[in-house]
């Protein structure tokens, strides 16, 4: 009796949200994916996989996402380390800085970068005034702008998994290593860093997968010169009304995300089960 009740409780509580998600999200997504094979033809997928133009966009998107993930990793690791080791006050300040952008619209944040990175923007002014550059450096409407904007948005997604892993590392391990004769650098390279790798993996995959489907930032900061899968899908729908092809691209994107997530989860489980 009680066991059955316990089983039904969560279901009852979750029924409404599940219904909501099912009707308003899952159904449309499935409907869209079905569009890609409309009429029993795989022509849309063939087009995406063989046309050099579209394959190029896929490759560019993957490259862009890899670069963004790598830069995020390089920036996030020290930040996470700071948060994991700082005093309570400094950690609170750090988290504030990290979370503040979350309460700001992504549109506002992205447009803010156009001001900072523009021809007469903050960065170019500084470069010119310091005599580092002789003319305005193009930072907008190209890959640099897109990367900067995406890193800015995605950084927290990298910081948190690393931070979480760092928090779980037993502080005695570093002390033990030191007591056994390790220099601070070796404590880091031989003990601390290897133990944080699962977090770094998790963050990298998360950022990479989210970056693959990015739309707003490349649209605004890329100025039409940086085309990602997300932009390509939007273009196919809005300009060419080619729903089957847009659906095929969406299906590929989703499949890639799921595949990476699935593969990685197994890797993570294998690596992180030290305790």
């Amino acid at each position: 009796m009680s066991a059955r009740r316990r089983d039904l409780g969560p279901l009852a509580a979750g029924a409404l949200p599940l219904l909501f998600l099912g009707v308003l999200f899952l159904f449309p997504v499935l409907r869209l994916l079905l569009t890609s094979v409309e009429g029993g033809s795989l022509a849309a997928f063939e087009k995406a996989a063989t046309d050099a133009l579209y394959v190029g966009v896929l490759i560019d998107t993957v490259k862009l996402s890899l670069i963004v993930a790598a830069i995020c990793l390089a920036l996030a690791y020290p930040v996470a380390y700071f948060l994991a080791t700082a005093s309570r006050l400094w950690a609170a300040i750090g988290f504030g800085c990290l979370l503040l952008p979350f309460w700001t619209s992504i549109l506002v944040r992205t447009y803010a970068w156009t001001i900072v990175l523009g021809r007469n923007g903050l960065v170019n002014r500084l470069l010119l005034d310091l005599g580092i550059a002789t003319g305005p450096v193009p930072l907008l409407n190209n890959e640099i702008g897109v990367v900067v904007g995406m890193v800015h948005v995605l950084l927290p997604y990298m910081v948190f998994p690393i931070y979480a892993v760092m928090l779980r590392i037993d502080r005695d391990l570093a002390a033990a290593a030191e007591g056994l004769g390790a220099t601070p650098w070796r404590v880091f390279t031989r003990v601390y860093f290897p133990l944080t790798l699962p977090g770094a993996f998790a963050g990298s995959v998360l950022v990479f997968v989210i970056a693959l489907g990015f739309f707003i930032t490349p649209a605004i900061l890329g100025g039409g010169r940086v085309i990602t899968i997300g932009l390509l899908i939007e273009q196919q729908v809005r300009q060419f009304l080619d729903w089957p092809f847009a659906a095929a691209l969406s299906a590929l994107l989703l499949a890639a995300a799921l595949l990476i997530q699935g593969t990685f989860q197994r890797v993570l489980r294998g690596e992180a089960r030290w305790h």
Partner: protein, 404 residues
């Protein structure tokens, strides 16, 4: 040096009865003439808690301690007594605010932990979870730049020493608690450390395994002759393992000595109650008589009765009229048979009898208030609750210390 010798002499001089004291003094004199300087000398170490919320509270309030080479010394005390802090000061993880630590004649107070050549087994073992048992043990050797071939040989011989041959490739999580502890121990001794520190390493083990590991650690320590500083709050464990025990309380060493010495001649009420079970009587000091070191004090109890107890040799704190605690261990009182007489006598009724295997523990309610606990061999005559009995013990079986 001279100061050190005096301290040692005094410590040994406190051992119980007159003959023991005399023999100890002779032994101490002989040892002082022959023995090298102590391996570890902790002098005047003070350390305040790092926690800002409790400023001024001392974790260590002036600790002096000297450990001889090859000795197994235990820091015994309740949690918060400063024993772990002292261990961390020795290991180098916490700098002392005042005082100095010298190892093998070298001042290491400001030396980095990595350069102290001290092996430590942590409470939770602190094995590196991403390294195999063998890699964990190889770590200190690799850090010392020892060639790979000799590392391999050394690791396999140490694995054999702790009985883990064939387990080298396992990760810590694939090992049982006892095996993990052996790995931690192997890792701490593989590089021939000058000193071995053990921070409550048996706490996580079940009772049977604990006893087994204690025996193994002790025999290993003897065989290797490795000087060991051991921290525990478990007095039984301290009695089993140690050459000497330093009882810590409130950031100070309350008393230091061999287990039997602490048990028979506690220097304070704290030590009497913390080490073993103690029956306490409170009273005022009367006449103090007898030649040093085995002086006897007559004490007037609160109940009006009089008792006689021994003073610890060298105890100069007890004076006429002092507020005293009289300590008698539960196995000391004897049942009075007609005709026998002791300096201290009480009568009471058995309130409770508990069978403990080798011994039976009796709780006796005394006539005139209070109670006394007895621990007698189980083979003898067994008393049932309600039995009235008279008890007696000589002054030499009772120690008087200041109540405060």
């Amino acid at each position: 040096m001279g100061r050190q010798r005096r301290r040692d002499g005094r410590t040994l001089g406190q051992v119980g009865d007159r003959e023991i004291a005399r023999a100890a003094e002779a032994a101490a004199a002989k040892r002082d003439a022959l023995a090298p300087a102590p391996l570890l000398v902790i002098a005047g170490v003070e350390r305040r808690f790092a926690d800002r919320r409790t400023p001024g509270v001392a974790a260590l309030a002036g600790v002096d301690l000297a450990i001889q080479s090859g000795e197994f010394l235990t820091l015994l005390g309740p949690s918060g007594s400063g024993k772990t802090t002292l261990l961390k000061v020795v290991a180098g993880f916490e700098p002392p605010d005042k005082g100095s630590v010298a190892l093998a004649g070298r001042d290491i107070t400001a030396l980095a932990p990595a350069k102290r050549n001290i092996g430590m087994v942590f409470q939770n073992y602190a094995l590196f979870p991403h390294m195999s048992a063998a890699a964990n043990i190889a770590f200190p050797l690799a850090m010392r730049g020892i060639p790979r071939d000799s590392i391999r040989d050394k690791v396999s011989s140490v694995l054999a020493l702790v009985g883990l041959s064939g387990y080298g490739e396992r990760l810590p999580r694939q090992l049982s608690g006892g095996q993990q502890q052996r790995v931690a121990l192997a890792r701490a001794i593989v590089f021939d450390p000058t000193l071995l520190l053990l921070d409550e390493p048996f706490g996580a083990l079940d009772r049977k395994l604990r006893a087994q590991m204690q025996a193994e650690v002790k025999s290993l320590q003897r065989r290797l002759g490795i000087t060991t500083l051991f921290v525990t709050h478990d007095q039984e464990e301290a009695l089993v393992l140690s050459d000497r025990i330093a009882v810590m309380n409130a950031g100070r060493i309350a008393q230091i000595g061999a287990a039997e010495h602490l048990y028979r001649r506690p220097a304070s009420r704290f030590v009497a109650e913390f080490v073993g079970e103690a029956n306490l009587f409170r009273g005022r000091a009367g006449v103090i008589a007898g030649p040093a070191p085995a002086r006897t004090v007559e004490v007037k109890l609160e109940s009006g009765a009089a008792m006689r107890a021994s003073l610890a040799p060298g105890d100069r704190a007890v004076h006429y009229g002092a507020d005293l605690a009289l300590v008698v261990r539960p196995e000391r009182p004897r049942r009075l048979i007609a005709g026998a007489a002791f300096e201290n006598q009480v009568a009471g009724t058995v309130a409770e009898a508990t069978y403990l295997g080798e011994t039976v523990r009796y709780r006796v309610t005394l006539e005139g208030g209070g109670e006394i606990v007895l621990r007698w061999p189980a083979e003898g005559e067994r008393l049932s609750p309600g039995t009235r009995l008279e008890l007696g013990w000589p002054a030499s079986d009772m120690t008087a210390v200041l109540w405060a």
